[in-house]
Amino acid sequence: MSAVSTTHTVRERDGGPAFALSDSWTMTRRELAHWGRQPVQVAVGVVFPVMILLMFGYLIGGGRNVGGDYIDYLVPGILALTMTFGLESTVIAVTQDLNKGVIDRFRSMPMANGAVLVGRSAADMLQSAVSLAVMIGVGYAIGWRAHTTAGGFLAAVGLLLLFRFAMLWIGIYLALVAGKPELVQAVQILVWPVGFLSNAIATPASMPAWLGTVVQWNPMSQTATAVRDLFGSVGGASGHVLSAVLWPVALFAVFFPLALRRFARLSH
């Protein structure tokens, strides 16, 4: 063992926002390094929604009356559904992290409060963007086409990612509340009805009236309808873009501070 003579004074946290940014980036890099170590898991995460798309496109949903080509209706719907189900992977990842010893080290270090969570959210957003790209590619392969301008296309992708961002912070908050892996299952089961009680795979018009109403109010349906509109797909209707922006922003405004507070209160 060689003696170490240099002293390493730690800079105090008066760096404020600069440290918050660099700490969050360090935590994002940590998540990306995990991808490099577990490529199979990452691949499974990308392939799963593709399977759902193909399953509904060819096995379950064929012959549905949606007022046009079903694949044209389905692809944007499944994109929105994938963003919702992203909540599950966030919950699992955060819960696993909380139950690892390393979280104690992070919490005993002079790092920015919440950098752990911000790193998680950045990595999940990146994963979702990759997932969206792959699914849009598969959509094109099975005959779906966006009938829109580049601007409309990007706006649609933006709305999907915005919705994912809101789901992400709900997921982080739920994971912090649940805490234990055993409770994650409950969350997982709840995500399914929320995801499917939407217009992702069927039109509200084809449902009983009361169910159709619930489905139309589901924020995810707002996103799906607005995205269909922007893509120029079957089932799109104008006037939904605003609510597809407001809903996620409102959810984020509620759950982001809740999650940060909950994280800071792990010491209680």
């Binding site: 063992m1 060689s2 003696a3 170490v4 002293t7 390493h8 004074t9 730690v10 800079r11 105090e12 946290r13 760096g15 440290f19 660099s22 700490d23 360090t26 890099r29 940590r30 390094a33 995990h34 170590r37 577990q38 690892k100 010893g101 390393v102 979280i103 104690d104 080290r105 992070f106 919490r107 005993s108 270090m109 002079p110 790092m111 950098a115 010491s267 209680h268």
Partner: protein
């Protein structure tokens, strides 16, 4: 100069159980202080309070002069923590771990990398730096964990049962590292269930029971209060026990006899002269011994002395204390 650690009347309850029940503690700068106690005494809870992981219900605790609740950031910049369980990212490699922690201490990318290499070399992990931590052996993991807690050369280092579950060789390595740190002026608070460990490493020992300190002092002071070392003698023939005990140079009250094991045990003050006396006495009466050993008192014996109840009895909540031997 203020104490490195100053704790006054800290309490912490978990539901119906008081984990810390008004604990007081003072640790001077540059010393090694051991919290000695059985499982569930509150040692880990105390370390978690001092490392800002847990808020106390009441009382005051300061580390390096800063309050652990109101100035948690200042405290965090000055401490290192080696917890009971490895606090490492198991998916990443050893070097990746150290670099990540270095960046989070805001050393900057270049210094974080240099520091990681330095620490890997110091703890003999350079060759395994890129291996995933989950493929490390227990001893390697412990060394990396210790390296991670030393990234900033902390003012105060917390070691929570640093050698529990380690083989003797890894244990000796951890002890050597702790000793070399103290040479550099670091204050160390360590928790342990082994009197031997506290004896080897600590300048001062606080014995903790049921969330409070029940005795403190140097190892020698405590041993004097708890009857010091003990001699264990095992005979070939159980029938000769009474005769042997009668010959012994100890007060009869101090000697405990275990007929099933053909053995007796007594406290000693001077190890070597006690050993010689016992051997001579047995030889003179032609009593054959199978084994004679001088040893440190066990934690159970220390507890028996200090609390009047053995650890075993302690576990059976509420039952009457009885002689454990």
């Amino acid at each position: 100069m203020a104490d490195a650690i100053h704790v006054e009347g800290v309490r912490k309850r978990y539901r119906d159980k008081a984990a810390l029940d008004g604990l007081d503690l003072r640790v001077e700068h540059g010393t090694v202080h051991a919290l000695l106690g059985p499982n569930g005494a509150g040692k880990t809870t105390m370390v978690r309070v001092l490392t800002t992981l847990l808020r106390p219900d009441s009382g005051r605790a300061a580390v390096a002069g800063y309050d652990v609740v109101t100035r948690a950031d200042r405290v965090r910049a000055r401490i290192g923590l080696l917890g009971q369980h490895a606090a490492l990212d198991e998916e990443l490699g050893g070097r990746q771990n150290l670099e990540m922690f270095g960046r989070l201490y805001h050393l900057g990318a270049r210094r974080a990398r240099a520091r990681a290499d330095e620490l890997l070399a110091r703890f003999g992990l350079t060759d395994n730096g890129d291996k995933q931590v989950k493929r490390y052996s227990g001893g390697m993991r412990r060394r990396l964990d210790l390296a991670a807690s030393l990234i900033t050369e902390p003012e105060v280092l917390f070691l929570d049962e640093p050698t529990t579950g380690l083989d003797p060789r890894s244990r000796a390595e951890v002890w050597a590292s702790v000793r070399s740190l103290v040479g550099g002026g670091t204050t160390v608070l360590l928790t342990t269930q082994y009197l031997e460990e506290a004896d080897q490493l600590a300048d001062q020992i606080s014995v903790v029971d049921r969330g409070r300190v029940i005795a403190d002092g140097t190892a020698d002071e405590l041993k004097a209060r708890t009857g010091g070392d003990r001699i264990d003698v095992v005979l070939r023939d159980a029938d000769r026990l009474a005769a042997a005990v009668a010959l012994m140079p100890f007060a009869a009250d101090d000697v405990t006899v275990d007929a099933d094991r053909r053995s007796f045990s007594a406290p000693v003050t001077d190890r070597m002269s006690a050993l010689t006396q016992v051997v001579r006495a047995l030889e003179s009466a032609d009593i054959e011994a199978e084994d004679i050993a001088v040893r440190r008192p066990t934690l159970d014996e220390v507890f028996l002395r200090l609390t009047g109840r053995s650890e075993e009895v302690r576990a059976q909540d509420g039952s009457l204390a009885k002689e454990a031997v």
